[in-house]
Subunit: 281 residues, 2 copies
């Protein structure tokens, strides 16, 4: 399948609850992915219901890591999303970070805005774009914004809509192990087995390199659910709410240093990952 | 792998919270599996911390279904587990049912007892043995009795011991979707990929037919995690608590009427299942 969107810069999707006060293991990796000649960071608070409490924690963390400036963008309205000053702050940043909260708030406020176009341009020009929790879930072309946790293997149990479209060919779910969200990605896998399910645990994340190699980072787990070889499902025959059957999905659990080739559907051991990361298309 | 234990009667493992007051969908199937010439049911309350509250609900349900007698066995001590009267009630029953609670209570009280030997003999002679929740989890040769729910993909996060040994070659977990227990079976799958992981949702169950064909029953889901083709794992290299990586497990979700051939590792669509069920060894 052709990938419509390419990204020159790396994307980092984080499962939420990453360490922001101690070792900063994941944020350190985000920061190091940036170009040394531009260590300005823009932190976008839109997804959060309490940005004034959360934004300062990222400001402190990135400052500790050595950022030249940390711009905290408290964008809460569509008007602010079109604000020229906010656009300029994004344009001058080498790292753009979406904090957590509600992915629908994020997309409904930023979608189609001048600030979001600036994010997309920065990514195309090699900047790092990272996001945690809602900020990670919103990254693909299609995102989950709600869904039963207990048994999402019911037709219609997962609510989806357009995401930010920064990366294609996959679906991202966060707080994945902690909130038992396996069934959400399983249901989605039956609706279209083409899309790779990426389940991010807390304090875990993936770097999606521009050559579409995925690299696990952080102390937590990254679960991949690969449905491409799905043998059968009843999803199309069911009424809404019906119990979904599925035959043959493939499951992987990655830990820090392990990787995955998204398009070739190939698990990469640490040694293989090192080789692949250098191979930028 | 040779299966050491054969069972002449069917085994039914239920994920917990099965309907006991309305349609009795699962209990009806348990009851119908019994021979028509013996509709006495023995319900064993040992796993439960509140057997006096729970046992009557099964008595009412099986009576509604047409049981000639329902014997509620409130066995709480090893002495009671050796009681000749309890043994006789089991010996005369066509269906033996283990209620839920704590599987360690069940095995530590019944293990090696005369009543449990009677259960094993009844199964060998064709009686139905069913269990829900803890009563299901305890059935295999090795059982889970405790484990972190959030992220059990950590070496040592799942506590296991000997189960009742009524069925071999698999591990059973209950309340599986509702409590997000995928990672428990994934961890166990890395420790020995031979064993099939059977994750039972609430109000769902499996009939394990004597020819080792598994049949899903009830409105809920049965998740299977098949690790036989596991490509790699780091489990042996980790310290206790370390994050487990795994490459390639196979995932199925069965709904009522779908089946699985445990030894051939083959998913059975409803039509195939009907054919296989008749094929008793």
């Amino acid at each position: 399948m052709a990938q419509c969107v390419t990204h020159a810069g790396p994307i980092v999707a984080i499962g939420g609850a990453e360490d922001r006060t101690s070792d900063l293991e994941i944020l350190k990796q985000v920061f190091r992915l940036g170009h040394r000649d531009n260590t300005e960071v823009a932190v976008i608070g839109t997804a959060s219901g309490i940005p004034d409490q959360i934004l300062p924690t990222y400001e402190t963390a990135f400052t500790r890591l050595g950022a030249a400036h940390v711009h905290t963008l408290d964008i809460r309205t569509r008007e602010q999303a079109g604000d020229a000053h906010n656009v300029r702050l994004i344009q001058q940043s080498g790292i753009i970070f979406f904090i957590g909260g509600d992915q629908l708030r994020l997309t409904s406020i930023l979608g189609g805005s001048a600030t979001f176009r600036a994010v997309r341009e920065r990514l195309a020009n090699g900047a790092v774009v990272a996001g945690t929790s809602a900020g990670a879930a919103a990254m693909p072309g299609t995102m989950i914004y709600n869904g039963a946790a207990a048994d999402a293997l019911r037709k219609g149990a997962v609510n989806m809509s357009f995401g930010l479209g920064l990366v294609q060919g996959l679906i991202i779910d966060s707080h994945f192990l902690e909130r038992g969200r396996f069934t959400r990605l399983m249901e989605i896998g039956t609706t279209n087995p083409e899309q790779l399910g990426v389940g991010l645990g807390e304090d875990a994340g993936v770097i999606i390199h521009p050559n579409r190699i995925l690299e696990a980072i952080g102390p937590g787990h990254v679960i991949l659910i690969d449905s491409r070889k799905l043998a059968s499902t009843n999803i199309a025959e069911l009424s809404m709410g019906g119990a979904v059957a599925l035959e043959h999905m493939i499951l992987h659990a990655l830990v820090s240093g392990h990787g995955f080739d998204i398009d070739a559907r190939r698990y990469l051991q640490p040694g293989e990952l090192s080789l692949c990361k250098g191979d930028r298309r």
